[in-house]
């Protein structure tokens, strides 16, 4: 029971990180391998805010999420849109954008190494036990889960209940048809890429409240997000949330019952199994 709850609490934060990636890939058609760097930058930003000015990370979200939006929007407009423009096919764009964002990954990782070194960081925020369902959990994990759930719900309401959100989904479904209803596909793609960055940044801020982070863990989190996105079905918000909870529970299970060192191996094992047997996602019918 404790394992299940801990896993679900972890999965809540994973869900946000993965939602950011799936928005970027589903709408802007960019498989952003540097997505994890946004997360790490958000961890460090939250740490800086907390340790230098004492700003509570939950308030920090209000500063860091807009920064994530602007930074990712700028990356899209400045670096990725030229690739989109010159691509003659979807396949060409995928190859180009994977290579470009792979390069960005190393660039950002190097910059953060330069700034913070390779050491592990953490800070004490709501690090008090909280009794819940017969178990005892860190209050910061519960708070992070609650905040993640609220942000995911807000994203869901935006995507499904507003016209702008529906337009974002329309671009994901059929960019050419979207142009026929007066949607500026380039603008929506940039917006969705920025929004995805903001959501991932929120995930990073929440993660930093209970997790020890360092400058080089971005790629690992990109992989986790990728696994969740593929497991949930690309572009599927509800699928991503459920897949994130599954991954969180599985990691916690492996870490507490077998060995914490095997967590990553289990994660990749799950990835291989999904690619072999359900490449269209656990809940997806036909692909695409």
């Amino acid at each position: 029971m404790t394992i299940l709850v801990t896993g679900i609490l972890l999965g809540g934060t994973y869900a946000l990180i993965a939602l950011g990636l799936t928005l970027q890939y589903g709408v802007a058609r960019i498989m952003n391998l540097s997505n994890g760097e946004t997360l790490v930058a958000a961890c460090f930003s939250a740490w800086l805010l907390f340790t230098t000015t004492g700003i509570n990370p939950l308030w920090g979200l209000l500063i860091i999420a807009p920064l994530g939006f602007v930074a990712n929007g700028a990356i899209y407009l400045g670096l990725l849109r030229p690739l989109v423009r010159r691509a003659t096919s979807q396949g060409m764009l995928e190859v180009d954008s994977i290579l470009a964002t792979f390069g960005l990954l190393f660039l950002f990782e190097g910059l953060m190494h330069l700034g913070f070194g390779g050491a592990y960081f953490n800070y004490q925020f709501l690090a008090v036990p909280f009794k819940f369902l017969g178990g005892s959990y860190a209050l910061n994990r519960i708070t992070a889960f609650g905040a993640a759930a609220a942000i995911a719900l807000a994203l869901y309401l935006f995507l499904y209940k507003t016209r702008m959100g529906t337009a974002v989904r329309a671009v994901a479904v059929d960019p050419e048809a979207a142009r026929l209803v007066a949607i500026d596909v380039g603008l929506i793609a940039a917006f969705a890429f920025g929004l995805g960055g903001a959501i991932t940044a929120c995930g990073g801020v929440l993660l930093s409240t209970f997790y020890t982070f360092n400058a080089s863990m971005g790629a690992v989190f990109t992989m986790k997000a990728l696994i969740i996105v593929i497991m949930g079905g690309v572009g599927d918000v509800r699928g991503a949330v459920i897949a994130a909870l599954i991954l969180g529970v599985m990691e916690t299970l492996v870490a507490s019952l077998i060995d914490p060192g095997l967590t990553l191996a289990a994660t990749y094992g799950l990835f291989v199994l999904i690619l072999l047997f359900r490449p269209q996602g656990l809940f997806g019918g036909a692909a695409g």
Partner: protein, 241 residues
């Protein structure tokens, strides 16, 4: 008035359209007839901004030049295209498709009234609002496509073979709806069709397209009895006396 001049389209080394000139009037139905591969669909896509036109092309909508602006802004200018294959959002519901039809700023005022008119025109859609579009029949999907186009409050509606895949009875209904759209909403309709007989019955004016060239034009009633049209498009209707 939609005034089209010098519209040429190339796909690589293959030229699909040669200096097309045509006019579409508001409140009227203009039909573009031609065999498969004549360039009809390409012509509509060029007008909608989905394929680039050659130099010197002019597309004037109510006197405003739109040949150089991207597809989404042509919708704002008053042009709505229902392309080959309908172009609806298959994974979204009927309601969402219609809602997105009203995404254009020009369509935001009176949106509710417009939705009511569309649902009066296609009552079937009213019962199917929550349904995912791609799970509907071909005829119903065509209604979604036309309804969505009407939601953008167009001055001109470009339709690529709306009767494709419909039963003869449904085709008749579809053409009747076009007449209503043209007269009640004062929309100019440019219709691409293979079904020459039915489309000439409801059209006001027609153009004949062959191998990327306009080879004939005239009022629909003249085309209906023109020997060239009878031979080329209504072949099955010519009964030896």
């Amino acid at each position: 008035m939609l005034e089209i001049q010098n519209v040429s389209v190339r796909y690589g080394r293959h030229q699909a359209l040669f200096d097309i000139a045509a006019q579409v009037e508001r409140g009227k139905i203009t039909v573009l007839l031609g065999t498969n591969g004549a360039g009809k669909s390409t012509f509509l896509k060029a007008l909608g901004g989905l394929v680039p036109t050659g130099p010197g092309a002019s597309i004037k909508l109510g006197g405003v030049e739109i040949a150089a602006i991207p597809a989404h802004r042509r919708v704002e200018a008053g042009l709505a295209l229902v392309p080959e294959g309908r172009g609806i959002f298959g994974k979204l519901s009927v309601a969402e498709n219609l809602h997105l039809g009203g995404f254009a700023h020009r369509a935001r005022t009176d949106e509710k009234e417009r939705l009511e008119r569309v649902l009066d025109l296609f009552p079937r859609l009213r019962e199917r609002m929550p349904q995912i579009a791609r799970t509907m029949s071909g005829g119903e999907q065509q209604m979604v496509a036309m309804g969505r186009a009407m939601m953008s409050h167009p001055d001109f509606l470009l339709l690529d073979e709306p009767s494709l895949g419909l039963s003869p009875l449904l085709s008749k209904d579809m053409f009747k709806s076009l007449r209503r759209i043209a007269s009640e909403a004062d929309v100019g309709i440019l219709l691409v069709e293979q079904n020459a007989k039915l489309s000439l019955e409801i059209a006001d004016y027609g153009y004949l397209l062959e191998n990327g060239h306009i080879v004939g034009q005239g009022p629909a009633e003249e085309l209906r009895s023109s020997p060239a049209v009878l031979r080329a498009y209504l072949g099955e209707e010519v009964v030896p006396a």
